[in-house]
C-alpha cells in the first residue's frame, strides 16, 4: 500500500519536475580552501532553484543544511546538484559538515528577482 502510494507520488513528482526543468533557474556555490566563497546566497522566494555546488579543493566537503534538509558530500574537484525550494521568505543556514567553520545562508527574498 505504502509502496504503491509512494511510486504514484514519485511518478507525479517526476512529471512535475520534467515540466519545470527548463524553467528552473540555476545558482552556483563554490567551495575553495574549505570555505564557501559566497556566504549569503540570495534567491527568489517561492521558486524552485537548482544549486550546483562546486568543490575546487582536492579535499571532500559536505554541503549540509538542517534548515533545508539537504545533505550531500562533494568530493574533491567535482560538482553536485541540489534542488532547493520553493522557499518561503527567510534565512536558511547551511554549512560544510566536514569543516564547521564554513557557514553560509540561503536568503529567500520576497521580491522576485534573483541575486548573485
Amino acid at each position: 500500500m505504502s509502496l504503491r502510494l509512494s511510486s504514484l507520488t514519485l511518478l507525479v513528482g517526476l512529471s512535475a519536475s520534467t515540466l519545470a526543468f527548463a524553467a528552473t533557474p540555476t545558482l552556483e556555490l563554490i567551495i575553495q580552501n574549505q570555505q564557501f566563497t559566497t556566504r549569503e546566497l540570495s534567491l527568489p522566494a517561492d521558486t524552485k532553484i537548482k544549486l550546483v555546488v562546486h568543490n575546487q579543493d582536492s579535499l571532500p566537503a559536505e554541503f549540509e543544511s538542517y534548515d533545508l534538509s539537504r545533505e550531500v558530500v562533494v568530493p574533491g574537484h567535482s560538482s553536485v546538484t541540489v534542488y532547493i525550494g520553493p522557499l518561503s521568505p527567510g534565512r536558511y543556514n547551511f554549512f560544510n559538515d566536514f569543516n564547521h567553520a564554513a557557514q553560509g545562508w540561503v536568503v529567500a527574498e520576497p521580491v522576485a528577482h534573483p541575486g548573485n
Binding site: 571532500p60 538542517y66 534538509s69 550531500v72 558530500v73 560538482s79 546538484t81 522557499l87 518561503s88
Partner: protein
C-alpha cells in the same frame, strides 16, 4: 582533534543508535549477534567501497547520484524495518512468553534477522562512508595525523558508548512490555528514515517539496543540539520540515501501524499458559 572527534561521533552515533534499537528488537532470538555483526562488517566494507567511488557516485545522474543512493538505501531499510515490525506484531507475544519461560534464546525468526542485518548494513554503510571521506579529507591536508587518529578513535568509541547505553537502558523495561516498546521505537525510527528519504528525493528534484518550513521549532529545539540530534535519529525530529517529509513520515507510520494491527488480529495469541508464575520482576534477572 576535538572537531574531528565531534564529527566522527555524530556520524557513528546515527548508526550506533539504529543498531541499539535493532539489538533490542531482536532480543531473545538465537544467533542475532552473528547476524547483526555480519551486517555491521558488511556495512563497514561497503562504506570503504562507497568512499572510494564517491567521485563517480556524486557526479552520476547529473550530480544527484549520491542523494539517489541515500534515498534508495533508506527506503530499503524502511521496508526491512516495516517487515520486522509486522512480523513481531504476530510473534512478539509468543517470543516474550518463551523468553520468560526458558530464559534463553528462541530458535525462530531467521527471516527477521536477515531483515535486521540489512538494516544494520545500511546504517553503517551510509554513515561509515562519510566518516571515511571526512577522515581522508583531514589526513590529506597533512600534519594532523596524530590528532586525527586520536579524535577519530575517541569519536568512534563515544558513539558506540551512547549506543550501548541506549541498549542497556532498554533492557530495564520489563519483558511483558519490552516488545511493545521496541515496536514503537522501530515504528518511529522507520517513519523518520522514510522522511529522510523524502528529503533526499526532493533534493534530487524528483519529488516536490509540498511546502518548505511547514513550521519552525529551531528556537525550541535546534537540530544542532545534542537532544535535537538524538531525536532526529530516533524519532525523525525535523525542526523545519517540508510537506513531502511530513507526508512520508505520516504515511509510513499509518501504513506500518495498520498492518501491525491487522496481523495481530489475524494471529490471535494463545491464552497464557496456566501454572506459569507471574514473574513481573523477571526482567531484572534476565539479561
Amino acid at each position: 582533534m576535538l572537531a574531528t572527534a565531534i564529527i566522527v561521533f555524530r556520524e557513528v552515533l546515527e548508526a550506533a543508535l539504529v543498531i541499539a534499537v535493532v539489538l533490542g528488537a531482536s532480543r531473545g532470538i538465537a544467533g542475532r549477534g552473528w547476524w547483526i555483526l555480519g551486517g555491521i562488517l558488511l556495512g563497514a566494507l561497503s562504506a570503504a567501497v562507497v568512499a572510494l567511488f564517491a567521485g563517480a557516485i556524486a557526479e552520476a545522474f547529473s550530480g544527484t547520484g549520491q542523494a539517489l543512493l541515500n534515498a534508495a538505501i533508506l527506503l530499503i531499510a524502511v521496508v526491512m524495518l516495516a517487515w520486522h515490525n509486522i512480523w513481531m506484531s504476530s510473534h512478539g507475544r509468543k517470543l516474550a512468553g518463551e523468553i520468560k519461560a526458558v530464559g534463553a534464546a528462541v530458535q525462530a525468526g531467521n527471516k527477521t534477522l536477515a531483515a535486521l542485518l540489512v538494516v544494520c548494513f545500511a546504517a553503517v554503510m551510509r554513515e561509515g562512508s562519510e566518516v571515511v571521506l571526512f577522515l581522508w579529507a583531514i589526513a590529506a591536508s597533512g600534519g594532523h595525523e596524530f590528532g586525527m587518529s586520536i579524535g577519530g578513535f575517541a569519536g568512534l568509541i563515544a558513539g558506540i558508548l551512547v549506543g550501548a547505553l541506549l541498549y542497556r537502558s532498554l533492557l530495564f523495561i520489563p519483558i511483558r512490555y519490552f516488545f511493545s516498546v521496541t515496536g514503537w521505537l522501530i515504528l518511529l525510527l522507520t517513519a523518520g528514515l522514510a522522511a529522510q528519504a523524502a528529503g533526499f528525493l526532493n533534493q534530487t528534484g524528483l519529488l516536490p517539496a509540498l511546502g518548505n518550513s511547514l513550521w519552525n521549532t529551531s528556537h525550541i529545539l535546534s537540530q544542532n543540539s545534542i537532544l535535537g540530534q538524538l531525536l532526529h535519529i530516533l524519532v525523525g525530529y525535523i525542526a523545519r520540515p517540508s510537506g513531502i517529509e511530513l507526508v512520508f513520515y505520516a504515511g509510513t507510520l499509518v501504513t506500518i501501524y495498520g498492518l501491525m494491527r491487522l496481523m495481530k488480529h489475524k494471529h490471535r495469541p494463545p491464552p497464557v499458559r496456566p501454572g506459569l508464575p507471574t514473574q513481573a520482576d523477571i526482567s531484572t534477572t534476565n539479561p
